[in-house]
Amino acid sequence: MTEMTFAEAIESALAQAMEGDESVFIMGEDVHLLRVNLFARFGKKRVKHAPISESGFLGAGVAAAMAGLRPVVEIMLIDFIGVAMDALLNHAAKINYFSGGKWNVPLVVRASCGGGYGDAGQHEQSLWGWIAHIPGLNVIVPSNPADAGGLMLAAIQSDEPVIYFEHKLLADYWRDYLGSGGRDTVTYDLPQDGVKGYVPDIWEPIPIGELRKFRDGDDITLISVGVGVHRCIDASQILENKGVSAEVLDLRTIAPIDLNAIKESVKKTGKVIVVDEDYKHFGLSGEISALILEEGMEFKFRRVCTEHTIPYDRKREDDTLPNVQRIVNEAMKVMGS
């Protein structure tokens, strides 16, 4: 076991994958410096910096994967996928099906996501639930270093397209790059267990589609991904003081989703709060409620999500993104009712 930051863990898993498989390469804007350590070691063939042509190089990544390579294509911020969505929607997600299951697209799309550092609504979206809507794509949202590395390895090894979300509040270099810029005059609400943690010495892939129970509890189930998981943990401590025992589930992958483990928890608690930094409507939170309902289970349900465009103003931003207070409030509502 070693201690690593969230970003180090991803890089370390990537390095392990790259040294083990010549066909793995990274492509995206500025990767020669964003991934400078890998660039120094592997060079520009395998760490390939691209023009600002997301639809061009993401589309090329799909075909490169079809030709047998294992591209890790970086979309700098997931917000920028708007210009390149066709490659995911109509190609990566569909080619295996269209080919009658005969042609795989072993593509990883790595994109930073999330807010909490004052960059406003065009640069702080989450969109994981949005992308998971499209059948044929796997969607991963790790919340801590150990998961981040293990899931990156799994993503690279998968024969299916995987969209891998890297939360900017967890990744120190993104936080510095887009938020602090070397300043010590700004602060963030950092989830310490997400930012740094123990990781295995040699990475093993973490199966895609298995959630992780972060905290045991009996009264209520808090379900989240990414930074939201840590907000849930913090909320659960406050809830503890109010006599409420909250279980916290970190989905880790939202497509596929680990319904069995969710069911197990809800069977126990009968109450669910989904905490989702992605937009509230037509997304992850609704999907979870539907999946449980379809199982014929009865339960109370509330959600804490982003409900509108994320404002620039840091104060209003903090109110817009799911925060501990809102989670506690919703949990108490559910407990009270």
Binding site: G56, A63, A64, D86, S99
Partner: protein, 363 residues
Amino acid sequence: MTSKSYITICLNTNIVSNMEKSILLDMYRMMLRSRLFEEAVTELWEQGKISGEMHLGIGEEAVIAAVVSHLQDGDAIASDHRGTPPFLMRGIDPKALILEFLGDPKGLCSGQGGHMHLFSKEHLCASSGIVGAAGPAATGFALSMQYNKQKNIAVAFFGEGAVNQGMLMESMNLASAWNLPVLFVCKDNEWAITTPSEEVTGGELLKRAEGFGLKSIELNGLDIEEMHEALSGIIPNMRKNGDPHFILAHCVHKTGHFLGDPLMRFHGNFMEEFKEVSGPLMKSAAKRKGASVGKRANNIGKVLGLIRRSGKQMKEKFDPIIILEKKIKDQKEELNNIKEEITLEIGAIIDESLKLSNGGILK
């Protein structure tokens, strides 16, 4: 604005051939096979055995044949919505194609892709119904060739309308900046569905491609000889240097945009078809508010002009196969033999496919 009109193409077509006869006969075979195959497909489509939009490559066979005949093992093709000719010419099992068109589980893509979404991993052939997607796809294939140090090339087939699609332009830049062996083949038939592309295209496509740093050449895509000769130079060079090229090949789509193209239907039976639209059209054009009377007359004139203009592409003098037949009319016997042979082959393919798919008819 596209830079050559039909007329120019026609005038420029060599009518006496300089090329080795055996090559021309091979080309004839490829082109005719594709043509007769697509004519058989048309029949199945007419019978309702094929669903959805069926886009043919009739009229662009010389372009496809010239390119595909220069491909080797390991080369890749990314096709647009006119996938049948390249797939067929590349050697993909014709029965698998027909079965796919019939939606049969035994089809090339298990009946799940259909004619706009053909894929053969074995041949590195992919297609897509999204206009412009062939650009990034061929670029990605070429990237893998460069990555693996293969002496292969990747071909992107697309229309002149697609060159206004951002991702295609991005991919032209990518291929140029990264020096990837992509052959961008723009089949300029002057139309994007019902839109004359010159009306919505700024500048000239050849210059646009050059602006990306691509070596670019304009060719008469109706003349297999010109096409074949040019590609005999270009493709081996690309293998050597691994660099991208752009070809602007003028051609036609004889059957219109797709089977059942409303514009083309007018030519079959103008009065009957026009009757159906003219009522609402005239009624609408006569409504109180709107543009001035003169402008309205112009608007209707413009519509009629489009119908008239769309008929041009059906003319025999723009048919690459007829053009080739004229060139080698002294080989009448061989031509007839080839025709007979292919007719038989295709008849058998259709029969067998229908048998395999139990008639392939959707109740």
